[in-house]
């Protein structure tokens, strides 16, 4: 088994009195493409916030790339595309180039300016997601699917080893979802980036992911996509906390 780049041991977290994560043990092996599924309020986003250092666990420990999260300083190793990518202020007058360059701000550091090398890096990331022809367009003028690609480019500009995506396909049409998964597949296979994807779109995700984790306050399932798709309706109902009917479809 490959070295885990994320390791959570016995992690619990509560918002005031409401426990959302209850003694979670979780490992993300290097090179995997993990799909994280679960009902709303099941703790998926909280788990991501803990990994990103936005929240501190009430209990347990988290390690990133073999280091305790408190001592982990190489934040550019982690790229993040948040849910907010779908709800950002579309009136913000920023070009695609400007938005993607924000991904490099912390890496370049205080009191320093972007060099030609940095600018070339930004254009490379934009090109990687197939948006080069829109590099100097205002991001607000683009479609939802194109904007989503811009936010992925922002996450990729640092050459991350781990890319975390929090429900990035919400509100995106089928064709753009398909292109999105193609891009993820390419990043995973060609660039060897470890992926952690939160989604409700379990159908498409199971076609691409190498591992699936089901989270609803505790970890209910951790296995391969083929094991997940063979779960019974009863298993899924127990996991989601309400009756689930599996309907096979092809979009």
């Amino acid at each position: 088994m490959k070295e885990p780049i994320v390791s959570m041991k016995n992690v619990s977290y509560a918002y005031e009195e409401k426990t959302v994560l209850d003694h979670i043990h979780f490992e993300l092996p290097q090179g995997s493409f993990m799909g994280l599924v679960g009902p709303n309020g099941g703790g998926k986003t909280t788990l991501i916030k803990l990994l990103l250092g936005l929240l501190k666990p009430d209990e347990g420990s988290i390690e990133l790339f073999g280091k305790p999260i408190g001592k982990f300083k190489e934040r550019n190793k982690i790229g993040f595309v948040s849910q907010k990518a779908n709800t950002f202020n579309r009136g913000f007058p920023a070009t695609v180039f400007e938005v993607v360059s924000t991904g490099l701000t912390a890496k370049v550091g205080y009191f320093k300016f972007f060099s030609r090398k940095h600018k070339a890096k930004v254009l490379e990331a934009i090109n990687q997601v197939g948006m080069l022809e829109y590099a100097y367009e205002n991001i607000g003028n683009l479609s939802g699917g194109q904007q989503q690609r811009v936010f992925i480019a922002r996450a990729l500009v640092n050459d991350p080893e781990l890319l975390i995506l929090d429900e990035p396909t919400v509100g995106v049409d089928y064709e753009n979802v398909r292109r999105f998964y193609e891009l993820l597949h390419q990043l995973h296979e060609v660039k060897n980036i470890t992926l952690l994807l939160i989604t409700h779109d379990t159908g498409t995700m199971t076609e691409h992911a190498t591992d699936i984790v089901c989270l609803n306050k505790t970890l209910h399932f951790h296995g391969k996509p083929e094991d997940y798709t063979s779960l019974t309706e009863e298993d899924l109902s127990n996991f989601y906390g309400h009756p689930v009917n599996v309907v096979a479809h092809n979009h």
């Binding site: 990103l52 250092g53 936005l54 300083k73 934040r75 550019n76 993040f80 948040s82 907010k84 950002f88 202020n89 009136g91 913000f92 007058p93 920023a94 070009t95 180039f97 400007e98 938005v99 360059s101 924000t102 991904g103 701000t105 912390a106 890496k107 370049v108 205080y110 009191f111 300016f113 972007f114 100097y136 367009e137 205002n138 922002r154």
Partner: protein, 282 residues
């Protein structure tokens, strides 16, 4: 007017000061507007008024030479720190900090004015701006503030932009968001204090937001918006000062009216472009 410009120091100081605030007010204004913090400028200008009233009161009651502009600046910076504190206390209702500080500023102003038993024409100049109010010491203070603000914005441009576009992403990537925001809000306080002499307490927020609102309609990208905002700001300030000089009216009023005219023109230009886009889409 050019002859007078060379003859009278005060006129030179006023115009040069006007040109400086025509740069720094819209410069900071671009970040204020995109972060939806436009009303913060209003809150801080009213706190500055309290500082000015305090300075005038001290001068009148104790006959101590204490520049009201310095007092205004100290109050403004203190108010900016207080706004940040309140915003962190009321995380879910951050805008509540604005009426608290704004009303606090007005309340203090009224008390200081009452204690000093009213002021002369000087307070009117601070409220609406003046073409003859900038002294040599004011000029050098505003020059220092302008250089400092431009330098800090240039040095921290990428952090300020990243924070303005997506605060959560900025924090995750390791930027000290709270410190950068505090720096930004203190800069805003300094710019407001510096602009008071020309535009006046009641109209300073307009110079920070109206040119930006106009530029936003036309610009492609943030840097272009910043450049256009400064251009519109300068246009408004210069027309305000010239008309103020010839018509003997406070320049603040004209600066705001010219800014509104520029804004209306930018809206019309955008409207003329927009129907074309709709037709294309259909």
């Amino acid at each position: 007017m050019f002859a007078d410009f060379y003859q009278y120091d005060f006129l030179r100081y006023t115009f040069l000061t006007g040109l400086m605030i025509g740069i720094i007010a819209p410069l900071l204004g671009t970040f204020i507007v995109v972060r939806r913090l436009s009303l913060i400028a209003d809150a801080l200008s009213h706190v500055t008024l309290a500082g000015i009233a305090f300075g005038l009161m001290v001068e009148k009651l104790f006959a101590i030479v204490f520049s009201p502009l310095y007092a205004g600046m100290i109050f403004s910076v203190f108010g900016s720190v207080l706004i940040e504190k309140l915003r962190s206390v009321y995380k879910a209702y951050q805008e509540i900090a604005i009426p608290i500080i704004l009303s606090g500023g007005v309340g203090l102003s009224v008390i200081f004015i009452a204690i000093a038993d009213g002021f002369n024409n000087d307070l009117f100049n601070y409220l609406f701006g003046s073409v003859s109010a900038v002294s040599q010491s004011d000029f050098f203070m505003i020059l220092t503030i302008s250089i400092f603000v431009i330098l800090v914005v240039a040095l921290f441009y990428k952090e300020l932009f990243t924070l303005s576009f997506d605060e959560e992403h900025a924090t995750i990537s390791g930027i000290h968001s709270k410190r950068i925001h505090l720096l930004f809000i203190v800069l805003t306080a300094l710019v407001i204090a510096a602009s008071i002499r020309i535009v006046g307490v009641l109209l300073v927020s307009a110079l920070m937001t109206l040119p930006v609102a106009a530029a936003m309609r036309l610009a492609k990208g943030f840097k272009q918006m910043m450049g256009l905002s400064i251009l519109f700001g300068e246009l408004a300030v210069i027309s305000g000062l010239i008309s103020g000089y010839y018509l003997n009216i406070p320049p603040g009023g004209t600066i705001v009216l010219v800014s509104i005219i520029i804004l209306l023109i930018s809206i019309v230009i955008k409207q003329l472009k927009f129907p074309k886009k709709v037709r294309e889409a259909k």
